[in-house]
Amino acid sequence: MKGGFRVNRPGVLTLLQDAGRFGHNRFGLTTGGPADPLAFNWANRLCGNDRGITALEVTIGGLELECQADTIFALCGADMPLTINGQPKESWRSQRVKSGDRVALGYARRGMRAYLAVADGFNIPATFGSTATVVREGVGGLSGNPLQAGDHLPCAATSSRQCLSLARGYRPVYGGRVILRVVSGYQSELITNDQQQHFFASEYRLLSQSDRMACRLAGPPIDIDIPDLLSEGVCLGAIQIPPDGLPIILMHDRQTIGGYPKLGSVMSLDMSQLAQLKPGGLVSFKSVTMAEARHIRLAADSMYRQINPEVCD
C-alpha cells in the first residue's frame, strides 16, 4: 500500500485546499483556497511546511482518517475534538502518527472550519496551477469532489520532523460575534451618506444559507437606488447589496464577475474570522481606509513571522 491516509469517514464537507488558484479569474475560474487562511497557514507551519502546501479544510467536522505512513500532522482552526486511536489529543500542535493509527475529528464546539496539514502536504496533482477544490467548477482536489469514504490521500513518510506547538495566547478564539473592517469602494460613492451610516451602525445575523461562495446576512436592509450595472470583476470580501437590501459577502468560491452594486470589501484578515462564525452569529462593520487596511495587514503578517512555535517532543 502506498503511503498516505485512507478516508474512513469524510465528515460533513472536507476539501483539499492549497493557497488558491491565481491568475485564472479571467477565464471564469474562481480562486478557491482556505476560507480561513490564518488557521490553514498555522497548520502547515506547525508541520514545518512551506506556506500554501495542500492540506484539508474540514467544515463542521466528522472526519476519520487511517494512517498508512509514519508522519506528523497538525490540526488548527475550529475547535473539533481530536483523537488518535480514541485518545484525546491537542489541536494547534503537531502530532506524531504511525501506520495503522486512526485520526478522528468530532464536531466543532467553536468555529466552523479546521485545517489538517501533514508533513510536506498531500501529494495531489494541480489543475490550473492549484490543488484547491472548487466543487461548483469540478476543479482541483480529487476530480473536483469533496472527500469521500475510501479516498486515498497520498503523502510522504517522515520521521525527522520536530513536533511544534503554538502557545495558547496566540491561538484565535472564535466567538459568536465579529466586527468586520471594510474598505469602501466600487459603487460606494453612489450610496447616500445616510445609508452608509445605517450600514455601519447596524448589526446582522449570519444565515445558514452561507457557504464557500458567499455569506448571507439578515438584518436592516440597505436602501440603494443604483441603475443596472454591467457585470464587473468581484474580489474577496466584496459586499454586494442586491435589490432586497440585505448584504452578501463574497467568499473564496465566488463567481468571478457580478452585476450587483457593492459598497466595498471586507479586509482579508477579517474574512478569516467570518469563515469561523457559525450561522446565527452576529456581524457588524467598521470603516477603514485603504491605507489603514494595508498597514494592519502588513503588521499582522510581520507578527505572524515573529511568533516562534515551541518544540514539543
Binding site: 479569474n25 489543475t127 482579508s268 491605507a291 494595508r294
Partner: protein
C-alpha cells in the same frame, strides 16, 4: 477612465460604461498592458464588459502608487483597435434535435428556421466577458431579427456545448449546467476542460465566428447527443 478602490488589495478601472466594441478593445488593451508591466505585483486581473479589476500584492506596492502607475501606463498606450483579438471559428450542429428552441424563435420572430441559423452565422462576435462558469463567454451582439428574451423558466439541465441566445448575446455552455438561454445548436468543441491546460480557447476581446456542420461531422468531432 476612472480608477476606484475595490478592496484592501484591489483597484477597479472603469471605462465608459457601455457595451461597445471600442470599450471592449480598451479593456483588452489595458489587460495586456498591465499584465506585462505589472507582473511582479499582480495577483489576478478580471476584465469584463467595461471594467478591469486589478488584484495586487499589497506587500509589494501601495494603492496610491499603483493607481498612479496604471493611469500613466494607460494614458501612454496607443489607441486600441477592436479588431486585434484573435479570431476563433467554432463549428455548430444547428438542427431541431440539437437546438430545441429553434422552432420557438422562428415562430416568435417570424423568420424561418433556416434564416435563424443563417443569421446566427452571419456576423463576427466579440467576447465581452467571461464568467458565470469557467469558460462561459458572453458574445455579442446578435442580429436584431433573432434577439430573444431568456426563457421564463430556466432549464434545470442544459447540455455541454449548447449554443444559446439571450437578448442580444449568444454563448456556448462550457459544461452541463442549468440555464435560461434559447438553444439553437450544439458545438462539439470543449470550451472548458478541467483536465487540459490552457483548457479554454477564448479570452475577453477575442472574436468568434460560428460555422455550420452536419450531424456526422458533429459526432466525428466528439459531439454527443442526448
Amino acid at each position: 477612465m476612472k480608477v476606484v478602490p475595490a478592496s484592501e488589495n484591489a483597484l477597479i478601472i472603469y471605462f465608459e460604461q457601455v457595451v461597445t466594441a471600442d470599450t471592449s478593445a480598451r479593456v483588452r488593451q489595458a489587460t495586456a498592458v498591465l499584465e506585462s508591466a505589472l507582473v511582479d505585483v499582480l495577483i489576478d486581473l478580471v476584465p469584463s464588459y467595461a471594467s478591469l479589476l486589478v488584484i495586487f500584492d499589497l506587500s509589494c506596492i501601495d494603492a496610491a502608487t499603483l493607481e498612479q502607475q496604471i493611469t500613466e501606463m494607460l494614458d501612454a498606450a496607443p489607441a486600441a483597435s477592436s479588431s486585434d483579438g484573435k479570431l476563433v471559428e467554432l463549428p455548430v450542429y444547428y438542427s431541431m434535435e440539437s437546438g430545441p428552441d429553434l422552432a420557438e424563435i422562428s415562430r416568435v420572430k417570424k423568420v424561418s428556421v433556416e434564416e435563424v441559423i443563417a443569421l446566427h452565422q452571419s456576423r463576427e462576435y466579440l467576447v465581452y466577458a467571461i464568467g458565470f462558469a469557467p469558460g462561459f463567454a458572453y458574445l455579442g451582439e446578435v442580429d436584431s431579427r433573432i434577439v430573444m428574451p431568456r426563457l421564463d423558466t430556466p432549464r434545470t439541465l442544459v447540455p455541454r456545448g449548447s449554443v444559446g441566445i439571450a437578448g442580444r448575446q449568444t454563448a456556448v455552455y462550457p459544461v452541463d449546467s442549468p440555464g435560461g438561454w434559447n438553444l439553437i445548436g450544439l458545438c462539439p468543441e470543449r470550451m472548458f476542460d478541467p483536465l487540459s491546460e490552457p483548457g479554454m480557447p477564448l479570452q475577453v476581446g477575442d472574436r468568434v465566428r460560428f460555422f455550420s456542420i452536419n450531424r456526422e461531422t458533429f459526432l466525428a468531432r466528439g459531439g454527443r447527443l442526448a
